[in-house]
Amino acid sequence: MNIGKRLLALIITYWITITIIFILPRLIPQNPAWRYLENLYRQYALYPETLRAYELRLLREYGVGMPLWWQYMDFLVRMFQGDLGTSITFYPAKVVEIFLKALPWTLVLLIPVTLLSWTTGTLVGAYVGYKRGSKVDKLFVGLSYVLSNIPSYWLALLMIFTFAFTLKLFPSGGGLSPGVIPSLTTTFIFDFLRHYTLPFITLYIVMTPGWAGSMRALISTQLESDYVNYLRAMGVEDRIIYKYALRYAIIPQLTSLGIAMGGIVMGNLFVETVFSYPGVGYFLAAALGSLDYPLIQGFFVLVVAVVFATNFIVDLIRLIIDPRARA
């Protein structure tokens, strides 16, 4: 596979996707800007001066009423200057500022939970894959059909109901209690962990079965392949065969981990929303609800760039470590 070609394809895809996300809301009849204006007129009908100020702001900052091509060029030029516009809901905060404020929350939650669920999932999957067909394996498969199909947001609701509402062990949501300031004090750390626990456990439960399932499939495929049968026929010890199979199976599993790490910047829309955990997904969901489309568009531009960049890097690494991928 040609690296340059792959990079070009990614850049073109990126350009097409952000263009679609930019143009679409402006093509739809009663587009979000107009719906937003309607709301504004209703809210501020009694305050003509405020309304006028809002109108001017919309005209200047959001380019409302300008021709589409002008808005598009403006968007692209500003994007390259690192300016993704101003949020409507959180005015006058810049979209980039909001993103940078939300990102640490998301990373602190999703990086550990992804790594931990990957590790346990891979270990469990490698084990049941080795024991495939046994009682443990059958139990695992049956259980994972159910576990992997529990909607994360429903599990989050159940968690809040059980541990926050009924048992009162944890707060029902938020990142920190009001008044607690991020610092290296025990109060802060304790308060942070209290808010952190439920979202973490929820995500861990939802994510682990998937990793285990994929590892189980990968290792089973290896253990049934021709080279393993050949080794068996030669009388090679089972333990050694398993080691070889593991080495082959782990490569795609690591690739998926790499891709998942890129997707982390999206945050988790569902779990962050249910727990009002102030990460990227929480702000994105808020923006979707209020049709804050500079924010939606801006987050999208940033998130997809990171996702694509990670995919590309993962591809590169795979090319380097796995000679078969070069074919």
Binding site: T17, I28, G133, D137, G142, G263, V303
Partner: protein, 294 residues
């Protein structure tokens, strides 16, 4: 590998599944029950799911099997209606995705060349983009969301993986002897494609149809939970959305959010088990490998 379609063989495979695979049998019973609830529930349980006609926040009782919500709406009526909507959406999504995927994949695989390159690039692109995120954003932009419109939008993001599978199968069938023979006997390409190639892919299409129903329900539930579902409609996801916005948890109204979640999980897992089991009998290679458990 490919032969003419033998119906008896498939019937035997299905009988084998019912007899030998307890997990499949269980999943089949669960899904059939949910299907019956959705199809006939609203006919027999005639309370209006939208009517705010009863006492508010009643816990489950004989008169109100699943209680009522803050506005005095009957939850069982809502749940039955929601099952119906969700199944309906899943079904439309499956029909549209299978249609798009089969047509594009078959054209690419059968004719190859320039058309193939275009379709392949399109498929590649669709598989590269973070489709979940784009789907959510696009849905939020649509002003008057209907159930059908949502199904169409979801299908746009579901066909690519399947189309790739169709392409691979069609191109290998197209090189098989009997298609060569059909070509040599002067049949037209379209008629070979429809009469000789596609029927051989029936098992593959059926399996994917089943999993598309699952994906459709799953995606719609997620969108509805975010408040991006069809307007003026009740689905399993919008029941959970209401449970969230009507503050069911802090009021302790567990009957509002437990039943929809149970039904969603049961529906999706049973569909998945059915799809995987079907795939394992249709595709013996998977059974040997143990990827698909029988």
């Amino acid at each position: 590998m490919f032969r003419g379609v033998r119906l008896e063989e498939y019937r035997e495979m299905l009988l084998y599944l019912f007899r030998e695979n307890k997990r499949f049998l269980l999943a089949f019973i669960v899904f059939a029950s949910i299907l019956l609830l959705g199809l006939f529930g609203p006919i027999f349980y005639t309370r209006d799911p939208f009517a705010m006609a009863y006492k508010e926040q009643l816990p489950p009782s004989l008169e109100y099997p699943l209680g009522t919500d803050r506005f005095g709406r009957d939850i069982l009526a809502q749940l039955l209606y929601g099952i119906k909507t969700s199944l309906y959406i899943g079904f439309i999504v499956a029909v549209i995705s299978i249609t798009i995927g089969t047509i594009l994949g078959a054209i690419a695989g059968f004719f190859g060349g320039f058309v193939d390159t275009i379709i392949d690039n399109l498929t590649n692109m669709m598989l590269t983009i973070p489709s979940g995120l784009i789907l959510i954003i696009i849905t939020s932009y649509i002003p008057n969301r209907t159930v059908e419109l949502l199904a169409v939008v979801m299908s746009i993001f579901l066909w690519p993986g399947y189309a790739r599978g169709v392409r691979g199968m069609v191109s290998s069938i197209a090189q098989s002897e009997y298609v060569m023979l059909a070509r040599a006997s002067g049949q037209r390409s379209i008629s070979i494609l429809i009469r000789d190639v596609l029927p051989n892919m029936a098992p593959f299409i059926i399996v994917n149809f089943a999993s598309f129903i699952g994906s459709g329900i799953w995606m719609e539930t997620g969108l509805s939970f975010l408040g991006l579902g069809a307007l003026r409609s009740i689905s399993l996801g919008s029941l959970l959305y209401w449970a969230g916005t009507l503050d069911a948890i802090r009021r302790g109204l567990y009957w509002m959010f437990i039943p929809p979640g149970v039904i969603i999980t049961a529906t999706i897992s049973s569909i998945q088990v059915i799809a995987v089991s079907l795939e394992s009998v249709f595709n013996p290679r998977l059974r040997e490998v143990g990827v698909a458990e029988v």
